[in-house]
Subunit: 223 residues, 2 copies
DNA sequence: TCATTGTATTATGTATACAATATGCATGAT
DNA sequence: ATCATGCATATTGTATACATAATACAATGA
């Protein structure tokens, strides 16, 4: 009688489906900064009405991925160098916080998972499969975020990461960066293992700073 | 011919009007945690259709002020003690960041404004006009946030502040807290004046920690 | 009595219709 | 030629209609 839960949780409102779809399209770069998000057009393309499109746009707006001008419409958010500096300044602070808290609270399981992901990252850099590399890197950091046990911190950091994602991918194209990244990941894992909070936060600080410099450089070239 | 801009910027989409209205109602406590946000009812009360209501709810959701369960509806977000701890942990980190950056960048004008607001706060505590006290306190911190020149940081801190607002008001009812608050404000202003970053961030840390303890106590009593 | 089922009601999810505004282009005046 | 002006069109803003799921409660049967 039991055990046939047959997840009726499969249901997602269309607004969420649309939100996820647009979000990924923006992060992937299929929808480029400045590109207009026209309701009717998107509705036609996704085969839904304007209503869920509009709600999804409101959500993207709050995520910082879209900008709406009343009576004119929404477009994919652009990032100036200043915008990116602002995001990175906050991200540095929160990444250090996350590292510090994780250092106290990370479980053995999570630590093991982190090591696996660290190796997966290292392996992936040999393949030059950019998507795989980027995902391993995101996962590495996400494990640390999760280890804080603070869902709000996790979601804020994910959001900040999202906003740099498009640009960070460019950073990950540069093969010369891989050795440094691999080394920093290793240092972070070591620090977390022996609960050396200073080592962890310092390394994380450097890690984010390096990315910051690179991402800003990319923005400058593009913008 | 010029100088008659006659702000045509007066226009706000109804979704924004509704959003602001509901947001304030939640912060004021007119809409209580757990209270349902029913579209038709709100639409009738505010004299608009469901469409702008729904969009406003999506926005409130992203702000963390409302929670939606698919096919069931939205309600005002509840705060457990754990939720509040999570918010406060982030807020501490960002408030320190803001204090640190403001210490480097605050202008003389802003400093003057800060002193005015500090005095306004002190005066307001004598009146027992809770709304006035709370607003002065919010303004004091907001000036510091603004001084960072980082709009994203400002909006994140405002949002975090929003989520504690309902509870912090209770804290501000306790008259015995006023002397400490006044003293801490003064220390922060002094530190900013002489650009003593350590003094500023340390005081800010204590300041937020004190509030944290008090707010958590209030949640425990209520929840 | 209690569990179950059916049904009315209410609320949300989604689509569509209507209104108002912005945009681009053609037209015409200077 | 250039700048307004007006009109057609595209797009957003808002309201409403229809579909579907959740809820409460009465009715039924064991």
């Amino acid at each position: 009688m039991e055990n046939l839960t047959l997840n009726m949780n499969a249901y997602l409102p269309l607004r969420d489906v649309v939100f996820n779809t647009l979000r990924e399209a923006i992060l992937r770069g299929d929808l480029k900064p400045g590109e207009r998000l026209m309701e009717l057009q998107l509705a036609a393309k996704l085969g839904v009405s304007r209503t869920p499109i509009r709600e999804a746009i409101r959500m993207l707006e709050q995520e910082g991925l879209a900008v709406t001008i009343p009576r004119k419409g929404a477009e994919v958010a652009k990032m100036t160098e200043k915008d990116m500096e602002d995001v990175l300044q906050v991200r540095e602070a929160l990444d250090e916080l996350a590292a510090s808290v994780a250092c106290e609270q990370i479980s053995e399981e999570q630590l093991a998972e982190l090591r696996r992901t660290m190796h997966e990252f290292e392996e992936s850099t040999k393949t030059r499969d950019l998507k795989r590399i980027a995902e391993a890197d995101v996962r590495f950091h996400d494990i640390i975020y999760q280890a804080t046990g603070n869902p709000r911190l996790v979601s804020m950091l994910s959001n900040l990461g999202e906003q740099m994602y498009r640009y960070r991918v460019e950073y990950l194209k540069e093969e010369k960066n891989y050795p440094v990244l691999i080394r920093e990941h290793a240092l972070i894992v070591e620090g977390l293992t022996v609960k050396d909070k200073k080592k962890v936060t310092d390394t994380m600080h450097t890690h984010v700073k390096n990315q910051a410099a690179a991402v800003k450089e990319i923005i400058r070239e593009q913008g």
